[in-house]
Amino acid sequence: MTTMRYRRAPLALVCAAATLSAGVVVTEVRAAEYMSVAESQKLMFPDATNFAPMIVALDPDQLRQLADRAGGLARLGAWRIWQARKDGAVLGYVVADAVIGKFELIHYAVALTPAGEIRDVEILAYRETHGYEVRNKPWRSQFTGKSASSPLRIGDDIANISGATLSCTHITDGVRRIVAMAQMALAGKSS
């Protein structure tokens, strides 16, 4: 694992200064891409020789159980699941998922043991959308018709933001659903 796991974060720093009054008033939407699903698979199961895609079929009864156990409806379609194998032996599973929070969309991958226990959680990509502003039409309209050459600036040099802390409650909820699913549908599967 000496290979580089880095991608330049396509941070979009959207400068709305042109339409606003004096002062440094910059409105930004932050986005970071950390790694691909394939990179996360190799990071979390460095010994695996093969990642076999899987489809999990849960019957209505299991779906109800899942909702009860994980405290919310399952979003089956959002999961992408692979079995990590080495020479035919099952090392565990990787499940990729995305959660939509109030102000952010987070893609992440969870590594599970063959018994369905969490080994690792890795963030793949993150996009913060300040919903209340982005959804607000007057706010959005200030960008209408602007292109890369217009005063709407796309910055790539400020990858770090300090301010009010984001909560990762939605990831925690998503991981809980995945663990509940794994223990019902994946645990103990040998192939």
Partner: protein, 283 residues
């Protein structure tokens, strides 16, 4: 057997940047230098260790055990936890009680401290609940930086740990940091170049309201009898360590004093302060 193979020359310009959900937020760690990937691994391991020791949500953490213990029973804790508790006690005293790491035990404290440290054990003298949320996150960031710098070989050109906006930088390559405006979180109020220093921000309201606040205490407590902080109040503090920066944002906010004497004593200063009473920026 990998050791016997010819290893490629270390790439001094290698970069690694990863994020994981830890400490109740997204922790992002970045390294540049020959051993970037290993430095990032070491950083995450250090953060995870602090979480195991000091999370109040984990029953077998030092804080979990301390909270479960009845008053009068000494609880042995890790040296790291002791160091954080010591600083918390110092800040609590120096801020006139504005900064607090334990709650409960109303009416106690007149006759003596509500908790004491004896050797490597902590003893509560009242039914207190510890919450190091206002300081342990910063400490975790510091531990991660220490772990990244401790890796044998040339020091990384850049080591940066950002735990949901509380961050510390080390190395020869500075980074630019955008500071959100607490009264309009989608806006940048200031850009700061961070170089071998730490920066933390706290906002009374947070970026998103907690989905369930029944069990969770408010993010920042107003001291007894004081008016609650307006949700748009916020502060960013620059300090030599992230633990100090993290804790001092709370002192600044709770004392309504961006030039609080504790800052100078610890080589810190306020970069951004909003008391929350100003009208928000025009839309």
């Amino acid at each position: 057997m990998m050791e016997t193979m010819a290893m490629p020359a270390p790439d001094a310009s290698a970069r690694c940047r990863r994020a994981r959900p830890l400490l109740g937020t997204l922790v992002e760690i970045e390294a540049r230098g020959a051993d970037a990937a290993r430095a990032v691994d070491a950083g995450f391991a250090a953060v995870a260790r602090v979480q195991r020791l000091m999370s109040r949500f984990e029953a077998d953490s030092d804080i979990g055990r301390l909270n479960a213990a009845p008053p009068g029973v000494p609880v042995t804790v890790d040296a790291d936890t002791l160091a954080v508790l010591r600083l918390a006690a110092e800040l609590e005293c120096a801020s006139g009680g504005a900064f607090r790491s334990a709650r409960g035990g109303a009416g106690v404290g007149m006759d003596g401290p509500a908790w004491t440290i004896d050797g490597d054990a902590v003893c509560k003298h009242a039914p207190l609940l510890f919450d190091l949320g206002g300081i342990a996150k910063g400490h975790a960031v510091d531990c991660a930086i220490d772990a990244m710098l401790a890796i044998p070989g040339p020091a990384p050109m850049l080591a940066l740990v950002n735990a949901g906006g509380d961050m510390r930088h080390a190395g020869t390559e500075p980074v630019r940091v955008a500071l959100r405006d607490p009264s309009a979180p989608a806006r940048t109020a200031m850009v700061w170049t961070l170089h071998n220093a730490a920066l933390a921000s706290s906002a009374a309201g947070g970026l998103t309201p907690a989905p369930d606040t029944r069990d969770a205490p408010p993010r920042i407590h107003a001291s007894h009898g004081a008016a609650p902080l307006p949700s748009q109040a916020g502060a960013s503090v620059l300090a030599p360590t992230c633990m100090l920066a993290d804790a001092l944002t709370k002192v600044v906010l709770l004392c309504h004093d961006p030039a609080h004497p504790l800052l100078a004593r610890h080589g810190a200063r306020t970069l951004l302060y909003r008391d929350g009473k100003l009208s928000p920026l025009p839309p």
